[in-house]
Amino acid sequence: MRSTLKFAVPLAVAALALGACGTKGGETPAPGGTGGAAQAACDLKIGMFGALTGPNANLGIYIQNGVNLALDDYNKKHPNCKVTLENYDSQGLPDQAPALAKKAIDDKKVVGIVGPAFSGESKAADPAFNEAGLVTITPSATATKLSTNGWKTFFRALGNDDTQGPAAAKYIKETVKSTKTFVIDDASEYGKGLADIVRKDLGAQVVGNDTIQQKQTDFSASVTKVVSSGADTLFFGGYSPEAAPLIKQLRDAGWKGTFVVADGVKDQSYIDNAKDAAEGTIITCPCVPPDVAPDFQAAYKAKYNEDPNTYSGEGYDSATILLEGIAAGKDRESMLDFVKSYDKKGVTKQLKFDDKGESADIKVFAYKVEGGKIVGIGEIK
């Protein structure tokens, strides 16, 4: 009988408590921002949505570093009215994303989201953000399709695969003057999307194709394929964890051609890991070279003791837009129009969005690894 009691007592208590306290509803005031008031509302939050733990965490942390830097800047300027960061750690997994999105939506103090970081989780979470009218600015999801769903809250602080792919192909054709190009992708949405565009644009000069898998480390079969194809240039669509061992093993096998990659590889860890093999790698990126924003570069280095990494600058920019919105007294609802009409220079580019939420005016730049550093070598026009 004891267990019955154990079970019944809390229920009874709960029922009593409910009866005593009654109900609420209807008159709940919306906490946080108050429409067009000039006074910035305090205790507001912005969300950081992406992989912060787990195997995909490094990209998320680079972004988060950028976001935190922007937040520090803001809170220094507004010491009496600080904004806090709420982390929504999806581990990059689409199956965790919807519940986290709901959590962000239910927290009425969250007025904007930086993220979701990956394309997969964006597809899972963005419909909910759209329905709730919560602005999201992704600093890193590049799948072209994301902006074609009619999500009014979707903004992208960087170019998509459709802007970068043709530029990479153009560079390979016109500047590298490649006649035999080999194309490898990593089967990810980002890498394959990009590589397919390059394949299409290069047409007949593609002498071979291969697909590797993320987290693969032994590329001996791909190396053999590249070497035996006689290719003078290799385009790899993917991220730095695979690019570094791939180029290292290619160089070890004596391949001398040009290695061309995209922004997923543009981080210092690529050079740290591939070491000498990384020299001469061409990286395309729809981001303005860092020498344009030396202050950001220096501030980042001072705080994290390393150079800004992939998408750190985009994270900083995305957060800055939202923070300026907060400073201008915007709440969740009015933030949407604020972001839509935003037009200022950020650390990565001119921050302005078109009607689909894409960054307007994307320029793709070429970078080269020289002496262990990624240096800009000009815009790809």
């Binding site: 009988m1 267990s3 019955t4 079970f7 019944a8 229920l11 709960a14 408590a17 409910l18 005593a20 306290c21 009654g22 109900t23 609420k24 509803g25 209807g26 709940t28 912060l52 733990t53 787990g54 982390n87 750690d89 990059g92 997994l93 689409p94 199956d95 965790q96 919807p98 519940a99 986290l100 999105a101 709901k102 959590k103 939506i105 239910d106 394309s119 997969g120 597809k123 899972a124 419909p127 909910a128 329905e131 709730a132 799948a143 399709k145 089967a187 990810s188 949405e189 394959k192 999307g193 697909t211 898998q213």
Partner: protein, 387 residues
């Protein structure tokens, strides 16, 4: 919500046989109306759980309704895997394969290549998952136990790699816009708000009974609960039938079972097929709720977690594995504040559970008996050795 069975308290000394009545006996001893009332109250409690927002129990870092739905899919998966691992004694490390088959069948049939209604695509998904279980099982179940583990693990990886590399199945982009199930908007249930310290009924936050939207996961949880109820019922019926006894005989000693006239291979295949079907059903529900699937949701690590759920809970005991599934899926969400250390803490917890509850949280009655017999034998042997 887990009730510990007093029967598992380690009784040392002579009167081991005089067991105190277990939870089940005590419940069975109650008069019938009380029993029904208890069950109804319990079911009601489960249904209202996401709206009660009980402090401490409710997850802070993620939406509780969404988390509960995830927990429910794990419970469902564990029920299916329990048939394979717990009842038939087959170690399956690739169970995520069937989960993926279920999810992708729904995705392909209702969004990617056709637009079948939900009520039709889910049964087909169950059927195809079952078929894939038979296709995998027919050649491999003849392989010995431990080898089966690696073969099934390979199957799970083959399924995932096929999903990543096949454009027809959406590739890495996955499948979007999977339709919602038809709703039945019957009534609204308000949530409870605890922000003032005491519970208050919050009329602003309500969930509509079985209205399947984008931003409210509670109805999906309710749907999953109903499905779990049906599967548990099915499980009870099968376990207590001739089939259940045949599984038990096969698991304990395959050769003897075969000699006694049990067609062990066929029963193993049946277990595999039923397990696969339930896994497929769970995957189908998952695809329905998320509306978007890609291969990332079907990584090998999930199979490992599924196995962990079953073994941690106590393979063979359906209530045990339900608890195990809750442990494996709920705790990482509840303790999000550990942030970076979540996986580390989870790993430690698994090790501690293994060491301090080696039979699982709620081991099946039979295992307990066997363990007692072992202990008694060990005491006897040691006594002889020291004498």
């Amino acid at each position: 919500m887990s009730t510990s069975t007093p029967a598992t308290t380690t009784t040392t000394g002579e009167n081991q046989d005089a067991r105190r009545p277990g939870f089940k006996e005590r419940v069975n001893g109650l008069p019938r109306p009380v029993k029904i009332a208890l069950w109804v109250a319990f079911a009601l409690f489960l249904f209202l759980l996401p709206l009660l927002n009980i402090p401490f129990v409710t997850t802070e870092g993620s939406d509780f309704g969404g988390v509960l739905f995830t927990v429910a899919t794990y419970v469902l998966v564990a029920l299916g895997l329990n048939i394979v691992v717990g009842y038939a004694g087959l170690l399956d490390l690739g169970y995520v394969g069937f989960y993926a088959v279920g999810a992708y069948t729904v995705g392909v049939l209702s969004a990617e290549h056709a637009s079948l209604p939900w009520l039709l695509s889910v049964p087909i998904a169950i059927g195809i998952a079952m078929l894939s279980g038979i296709i995998l099982g027919a050649p491999t179940l003849r392989v010995r136990g431990d080898y089966l583990a690696i073969v099934t693990l390979g199957f799970g990886e083959i399924v995932r790699l096929t999903l990543v590399n096949t454009q027809w199945l959406g590739g890495a982009q996955g499948i979007s816009d999977i339709p919602k199930p038809p709703g039945l908007e019957l009534f609204e249930v308000p949530a409870i708000d605890w922000s003032s310290g005491a519970p208050v009924v919050d009329l602003d936050t309500t969930s509509t009974f079985l209205k399947f939207g984008i931003t409210d996961f509670v109805p999906y949880y309710w749907l999953a609960l109903i499905v779990i109820g049906l599967v548990v019922l099915f499980d009870v019926l099968v376990k207590n039938s001739r089939v259940g006894r045949a599984w038990e005989a096969t698991r304990e000693d395959e050769d003897v079972a075969e000699l006694m006239g049990v067609p062990t291979f066929r029963f193993k295949l049946l277990a595999f097929a039923l397990g696969a079907a339930i896994g497929g059903l769970s995957g189908a529900l998952f695809a329905t709720k998320s509306g978007f699937i890609n291969p990332q949701s079907f990584e090998l690590i999930l199979s490992i977690l599924f196995i962990a759920a079953v073994v941690v809970g106590g393979a063979g005991n359906r209530w045990g594995i339900i608890v195990g599934a809750i442990v494996v899926s709920y705790f990482p969400e509840r303790f999000r504040e550990f942030a970076d250390f979540r996986v580390l803490v989870f790993g430690l917890a698994l090790m501690l559970l293994a060491i301090f509850r080696p039979q699982g949280i709620l081991p099946p009655r039979r295992t307990l008996r066997a363990k007692k017999a072992d202990e008694r034998q060990a005491i006897l042997e040691e006594g002889e050795a020291s004498a």
